[in-house]
């Protein structure tokens, strides 16, 4: 879901940095010093997990895990995703420095929406793990679609000629969203069985009351 270097125009680059700065400031306000190592360690695990490839047809795809990051980390997911995107640019030259702001928005907004949606809908499932996992899967699938829509939007804002390729990208992510939803469903269901406090109570202590079912 990365936007590569050289694709965006200056208003979009600047706008991306402005919005991502706002999201980062919001997330920093919610972080207490004791939570820093947790966010970073979980962020690193999500970063590495997203490198796992699945063969689909003649090609292979890798997951974004934005929805799952949002569900587990909550608002600080913005910081974990920003760190992950920074190191993807440094280690693999995916994305880049000029597009870091826009890419952060493309990943962080779906993660935050997934967190809000799961916080609202998750408790409705009570202690039925499968239903909770199904909600998490559905929310994650939608998060991928939101990310794809954001990519289409920033490409359209960067030039009319990029609309076609943006549309192709969105269609491809429609397929990815199904895969992401299925993987999130399996992952959340298994985690709820062996370490429910990781998801049912929320990662951050502050969210305990809100998301407990």
């Amino acid at each position: 879901m990365h936007i590569s270097e050289g694709v965006l125009n200056s208003p979009v680059i600047i706008g991306g940095y402005a919005v991502s700065a706002g999201l980062t400031a919001l997330a920093l306000k919610r972080v207490r010093p004791g939570e820093i190592p947790k966010i970073a360690v979980m962020g690193a695990a999500f970063f590495v997990s997203s490198l796992l490839h699945f063969k689909v047809g003649i090609t292979s795809v890798h997951l974004t895990l934005t929805g799952l990051v949002g569900i587990v980390l909550g608002t600080p997911a913005v910081l974990a995703l920003l760190a992950g995107l920074f190191f993807q640019a440094v280690m693999f030259q995916h994305g880049g420095l000029s597009t870091l702001g826009v890419n952060t928005v493309i990943f962080a907004v779906p993660a935050l929406l997934a967190y809000l949606a799961y916080s609202g809908l998750g408790p409705l499932a009570g202690k039925r793990h499968s239903l909770r996992a199904l909600i998490a899967g559905g929310v994650s699938a939608l998060a991928v679609l939101v990310g794809a829509a954001l990519v289409l939007l920033v490409l359209r804002l960067s030039g009319e000629e990029l609309t076609g390729i943006g549309f192709l990208f969105s269609v491809a992510h429609g397929v990815l969203s199904l895969l992401e939803g299925a993987v999130t469903f399996i992952v959340v269901r298994q985690i709820l069985k062996v370490k429910p406090e990781m998801i049912t109570a929320g990662f951050m202590p502050r969210r305990q009351g809100r998301s407990r079912g």
Binding site: V31, P33, Q93, L97
Partner: protein, 249 residues
């Protein structure tokens, strides 16, 4: 090979005070990413090549860093040429080769490679830990820097964990080539990694609290400003003005 493998080479770029180098580099990268005209893009590309030459980074290292972006461009740009719309230069049935697409593809390729070369030249010539300490001096929030540092530390650990988990799964018959048929196994690998990291994150957080970690980032790097650093900043400023003049004239 790591991004900062050649940060200690003896060259004017490596010797440049990181505070000035990273600030000037970030600004130049943003300016180059905003260019769209051929003369300004050609000049920017030439400047990036001069920077790489001055930094004495080995050619093989630079090519290795460029490999992934080039592969991505090779996949993306042909699609752009076929979907851009406007005046078609060549048509066959439903396939059209668009003039706008060709121009835009050339512009994106030039801009992308220039920006990545600048990124390697400015940021790959500073040790990553020094870069974080520089960012602290440049008033980047210490909480964010601490998260970046911790993430950097644990990414390598989990890459190794993931490699071991995949090896173990392959020995039991897991095959990536069978893709979606093994979605359960792949998800199981993710669950194992996430559970381990969650438990480790609690231990790390507890250990850091015991050591008195309060979220602040304390760098120990000492920076020395010299007239050469200021001259390099002035040259970068002149170069940015020249690029903007070429773009806007």
């Amino acid at each position: 090979m790591e991004f900062d493998s050649y940060a200690d080479l003896d060259s004017p770029v490596q010797a440049w005070d990181p505070r000035f180098k990273l600030s000037a580099g970030f600004l130049l990268i943003l300016v180059c990413a905003s260019l769209s005209k051929a003369p300004s893009l050609a000049a920017a590309g030439l400047g990036a090549l001069v920077l790489i030459t001055l930094s004495r980074l080995p050619l093989l290292f630079v090519l290795r860093m460029l490999k992934a972006p080039i592969v991505l461009l090779a996949l993306m740009l042909p699609l752009l040429v076929l979907t851009a719309g406007g005046q078609a230069l060549w048509s066959w049935r439903f396939l059209h080769l668009y003039r706008n697409g060709l121009i835009l593809a050339a512009r994106i390729a030039a801009k992308s490679l220039t920006v990545i070369l600048l990124f390697i030249g400015f940021f790959g010539t500073v040790r990553l830990n020094t870069a974080f300490q520089t960012l602290e001096r440049l008033k980047v929030p210490s909480t964010l820097l601490a998260i970046l540092l911790f993430t950097y530390r644990y990414i390598y650990l989990y890459l190794e964990d993931m490699r071991k988990l995949l090896s173990a799964a392959r020995l039991r018959g897991y095959n990536l080539q069978r893709g979606l048929r093994h979605i359960g196994t792949s998800s199981g690998i993710l669950v194992t990694l996430l559970l381990r990291s969650y438990e480790q994150s609690e231990r790390v957080a507890a250990a850091m609290r015991l050591r008195g970690f309060d979220g602040s980032f304390r760098g120990i790097a000492r920076f020395h400003r010299s007239p050469a650093d200021l001259l390099a900043v002035a040259l970068t400023a002149v170069w940015i003005c020249l690029l903007l003049w070429l773009e806007l004239r």
